[in-house]
Assembly symmetry: D2
Homo-oligomer: 434 residues x 4
């Protein structure tokens, strides 16, 4: 986790304080359930709630762990300091450390997912607003980085919206993947604890009981979760790449927002770097790199080994914190992106109408000119544009063979941008609904 690429709410989920708070809730709810089942005395269950508003002392717990070499035992010891040794003596009964650790991890991931879902919703709002704003802002579409046919900036925003909307749906599925809890004992057989304790704890924590666990919750769930983060990160890279291209000096169709006061801006007005989206490109790699280790974590030995643990201590916080930051940063970029419609037009006209050559070619053949002749007609005019800097439409209008086949009006019509934008509304309806 790199502080400069993090936001406090997500960081808080991964703090020791939050972790111990969740551990506490798991233990306290488990005691309630055991009391309900008559396994432990009611008063002992109630006593645990005395610590309800206590802020656990992380330093003290660390101190105890330094002696016991066991984090859950250290916490329980500290809890007993608040609840009373005797009152606390049934806490954790029949449970195994992983019951607490795994269930807590999934609570944290679920909360992280909630933030990421909210992030995506925020990003979608920004994308939708900019899409509508620039629905008819014509720019050249490019394949292979080369001018192809006209499109609109609104469609660009709309396709990013559609992509992020899919990511929102994936993120919700991913949240469901890891919204399970397990209180099932050393090898998942409930030998020492009633399954109804698991039901109760999960219910209270907003989780679903894991149908079958083995001390640990199966890691295919986490693999699917982190893979989803990797897909979302890749979409961030996709949008970031578009912005970086738009901002490059020769294109300059948009710029990341640049506050007037920012040093150097006006003495070197050409030197405004798309550093936010470049940064997002790197952050995407960081989120993505967790996918393979999360998949390698699936094949634990027998009922569990602990190889996944160090991996998750890292990627749990790091990827969610980084992705939260990246989504937020991207939302800001989209929200404040400075769009230059006039440059879009200028770029489109860089080759003075040549982007329409394919349309003209098609029109000629449709008008009955043979493919070979049509090609030759287009070519001889295109070459004058390419080599002598002439204007394509002007040349065509001055070529009697062309006007004979198409007529002035039809030639003019071929250069009408409305031809290319006529289905924008259809597409918007598909993406944003009516």
């Amino acid at each position: 986790m790199i502080p400069r690429y993090s936001r406090p709410d997500m960081v808080a989920i991964w703090s020791p304080e939050t972790k111990f708070r969740i551990w506490y809730e798991i233990e306290a709810h488990a005691c309630d359930a055991m009391a309900d089942l008559g396994v432990i005395p009611r008063e002992n269950a109630e006593a645990v709630w005395k610590a309800k508003d206590v802020e656990f002392d992380v330093g003290r717990i660390d101190e105890i762990e330094a002696v016991t070499k066991h984090d859950v035992i250290a916490f329980l010891t500290h809890l007993a300091e608040h609840v009373g040794s005797d009152e606390a003596r049934f806490v954790h009964q029949g449970m195994t450390s992983s019951d607490v650790l795994d269930t807590c991890f999934n609570v944290q991931l679920t909360r992280a997912a909630d933030i990421l879902i909210a992030d995506l919703e925020g990003l979608l709002a920004a994308l939708k607003r900019r899409a509508i704003e620039h629905k008819d802002t014509v720019r050249i579409g490019r394949s292979h980085g080369i001018h192809a046919e006209p499109t609109t900036m609104g469609l660009t925003f709309a396709r990013f919206y559609a992509e992020m909307d899919r990511n929102l749906s994936r993120m919700r599925d991913a949240r469901a993947e890891i919204a399970t809890g397990a209180i099932s004992g050393a090898v998942g057989t409930f030998a020492n604890i009633d399954p109804r304790v698991e039901d109760h704890v999960c219910d209270k924590l907003g989780l679903v009981p894991e149908p079958i666990s083995t001390q640990v919750i199966p890691r295919d769930r986490h693999a699917a979760f982190f893979a989803t983060l990797g897909v979302i990160a890749s979409s961030i890279e996709n949008i970031a790449t578009e912005v970086r291209h738009m901002q490059r000096t020769e294109v300059l169709e948009a710029e990341e927002f640049f506050s007037k006061g920012q040093k150097g801006s006006s003495a070197m007005p050409h030197k405004r770097n798309p550093v936010l989206t470049e940064n997002l490109t790197g952050l995407a790699r960081l989120v993505r790199m967790a996918v393979v280790p999360a998949m390698e974590n699936v094949a634990l030995w027998h009922e569990r080994d602990i190889s996944h643990s160090s991996v998750e201590r890292n990627i749990g916080p790091d990827t969610t914190i980084t992705l939260d930051f990246a989504l937020s940063r991207l939302t800001g970029v989209i929200d404040k992106l400075v769009v230059y419609p006039e440059n879009m037009l200028a770029n489109m006209n860089k080759f003075r109408g040549l982007v329409m050559s394919q349309r003209v070619l098609l029109a000629l053949t449709q008008a009955g000119v043979s493919r070979e002749d049509a090609y030759r007609l287009v070519q001889r005019n295109a070459m004058k544009v390419w080599e002598e800097g002439k204007d394509f439409k002007t040349e065509l209008l001055g070529d009697p063979d062309v006007t004979a086949a198409l007529g002035v009006e039809e030639i003019e019509e071929k250069f009408d941008l409305g031809y290319h934008t006529k289905h924008v509304d259809t597409i918007f309806a598909r993406v944003f609904g009516e």
Copy 2:
């Protein structure tokens, strides 16, 4: 694609013949739609169906491509050889190559998904059958590779079932991710083709129209698809690892089926190698390695570049073929796995009852013995087992301090395996339903 790790049905999906057949269907259905819209003459659309039962000549198409350097043009030229040049002249009108290529790729992936779904269903059936068969076959559960508490072989199969059942659900979602088609033109604006053509073609091919495309179908879909294959592969590795562990000489709780006739088996009966599951471990890596490139493919430049193409030419066939083979191989392994219940019992008793030490410890404290004393009591008997090869229960029954606290019956009860299996039915009901 490695022939020895492939099966014919999946391979067929990726053959040139299948590809050209799908291209043909896309073009023919598109012509129908255009005829319906009055864009092209009905008879030209109908003429295309003359080639309905033609087997396209791949060699001939390659020959043409060698000249035209363009695969779609080569195919269209060949198609015209069957349909007639004049009749075929409206085929592909207003379309771009990617309309055909991307839609075809998604048809292939969808079909591949169908096979993988069937594979998973087959695997689930095998896992369920073996789970029920071995529901009560007791074996030791292991954490860290070390004996923990008893569980049953049925629970092992059941957890693999639950995991693969999640994978089935993920695979269905992944199928939906890529079951889209696009006939939207050079930059996705439908400038030269009516969106209703796309509707019709998609409908005929069992696809959903891509809401917004840009010459290409957005690659976040494919990233999500291949990520899902990676998760499934990781689950395969998980099961394979369990089998490999069970078969190792010292454990020998199960073996991959070994036909009597197989060379060397009876002269060296100890030397039966779990080569199928080792192989599955490697195949899992091959499927998984496609995940990151599929994610790198998402960030195409502007409306498209072609960097994703070579990647997909490889990972499209290779991962689906490998995963199909792996699922099928795994199903065979599960189906025919030779299970040795007696070895399971022998292993569990390797340390003559010591696996029950924790239960005894707990019982002593619950009987009112202090934690320290209980620990000391267990320890002194455990050490006789560990160091002198004694039997744990016998020692406990002979230790008056222990019998004073627990009584003979309760000690006996602590060694009752039924204690550990009492919730197996509950778990089975969760996993398999009532």
Copy 3:
């Protein structure tokens, strides 16, 4: 392996014919060594060489393997068909299949490495030639895709040369990593075969004996080998990305060679797509994806398991074939790259001198103007360029405050491109030597 991305020499290394030829040589040389040691009769060793010029019948070997289910035994059976059953009876004595398989794999990798080394040398020659050709071709250097300061096209080629020269050196190291052989028996103890057999076979095949093997040659070697291919692929992506940027419509400082006859080129002269370098970007991903599985292959169980085998059957041929093709394709791209020096100048002057603003700023402060004043002076002239389209130098020369501080001559000097290229020779000497 995708046929269209492969070249015959590299493909041949991975053919069954080549494999069986290498197996044969290993076995025949091993027999020689055993005869020298008096372990087998000399005439039996000599008899094996009867098959020296035989082309082994792959179909026949496959046929036998279908029965024996063992590839090495199938080969040995076929070999006996040529040599004579009795004469061949000492072939493979004391050896294990992996002795043949692993040594053969390393021979193949070594030969593949030789081709890749030659590829890199060819690429270096092309890069050097173009670097010298364009040593003084000025273009704007860009950071963040934004104009920074002038550099030269020669320096661009030179830095790619330096990078690929490092790759050549890495490739040579990688070759040494896997140029080992092992004939050490079932667990590497030489129990059934004299270590001198290994010495002899390795010597004949141009390998070094693996100091300690365990049936298999340790896979850290292969991990290092494939990691090196991944680094080289990343450098290919680096160069490809530069070309793609240069060719994009708005930049157009270079184009991949486009033969006159290539369809569509002259009717749509603006539509020349950098498809080769886009393709190289994808191929780089394919090579890179083998790195992690190769690393996952390192941790084999005990003396060996076979999980690495399926991985290597894939990545052995696929990555070397793809990288060979990619290096060759890149060499062609560099060799024939059409460079547009006039466009480079035009791009540099897009903002009429503004790229020199930093130099002017520095000059003003060095002339004693305070930082704040210097900034203000540059800013007010820069803004006229940025907002009104004026020429920067003209504005500066017309600003009495600026001319007071710097003088006309010094202002002129600040726009001298020679200032930026004065160390090009120094850098060339560093890269190419004197």
Copy 4:
């Protein structure tokens, strides 16, 4: 970076204090060089050294950065607070931030490499000591997890030694890869700074001048560096996997050291978990996951973009800190590994001599028995061992057909372990030298 998996010396390399100290040295040495060249006054260069023993105030620098939004400027401002604004006015002249940042990063990586090299040397010493100690400790070699032929524990340690020795050599190469510095200005042309400044700074910092840089040092170097860390991590996983296998309950040929006082050890003596090596398995994944992003960092746009920066802020510290910790932890594991030679013998004899069946088979054929008969003889005795629990050698000695072919002495000889260990000295000499 996870505190529990880190060691102070490596952490210190990545502290802000160390970073600023290195920045300072770069700037101060650069001033010296500029003074030598007569570019700046000698007294200004000397004045910079006034801050030689200053501990820079990180909080203060952060405070300034919060205003300037630029880390290098913030540092220079703080430096001027120590040196004097006027005296410091030539600091950083003609340089660009990356000159400082990239050179500093490589200094940090170089120092990290030095620690890792020392770590590897420590690990090698431990492996060598244990190899010699257990040179003749016989254990069964296993392929596929199945007993194969005898080997020795010393050979196991020796092969890990050989592997880590290769890693030491790779690490030294990797150190050389990134031991370069660059002070070459905005696009690497030395337009504003003399190349001799770079020479001097590099010389003082123990670096080699980067032959050609472009504001940044080329990232193929870093890709190669992090790839090497990934290979080393994979070797750690390899050793960790062996230990985990040896410690599993059924094998128990070795255990991670377990201090007597450690809770729970003696009441549950069978429950000693190989948690250190399981942890190492996870840490290996964490180091390895940086390899692909480091490779994705190579293809920067034009002369540089900043996408690599966020990646390196993470993987620079995280992988070196994790690998340092892992190597140190592994060294402790090896150093204190509790080896159980008696269990090794017991395991080897699990099938009462059957591991020798292949040797007997070979001996029979060498004695002139036909392959089929030999196989039948071995088989009928092997089956008695396998199915009835008899002892193999005893059975063979009681089978007149066998004794007729081999004689008692030869049968006895086939069970002599010395046969398998006869070349251990040869292998040790290869690995450790004479």
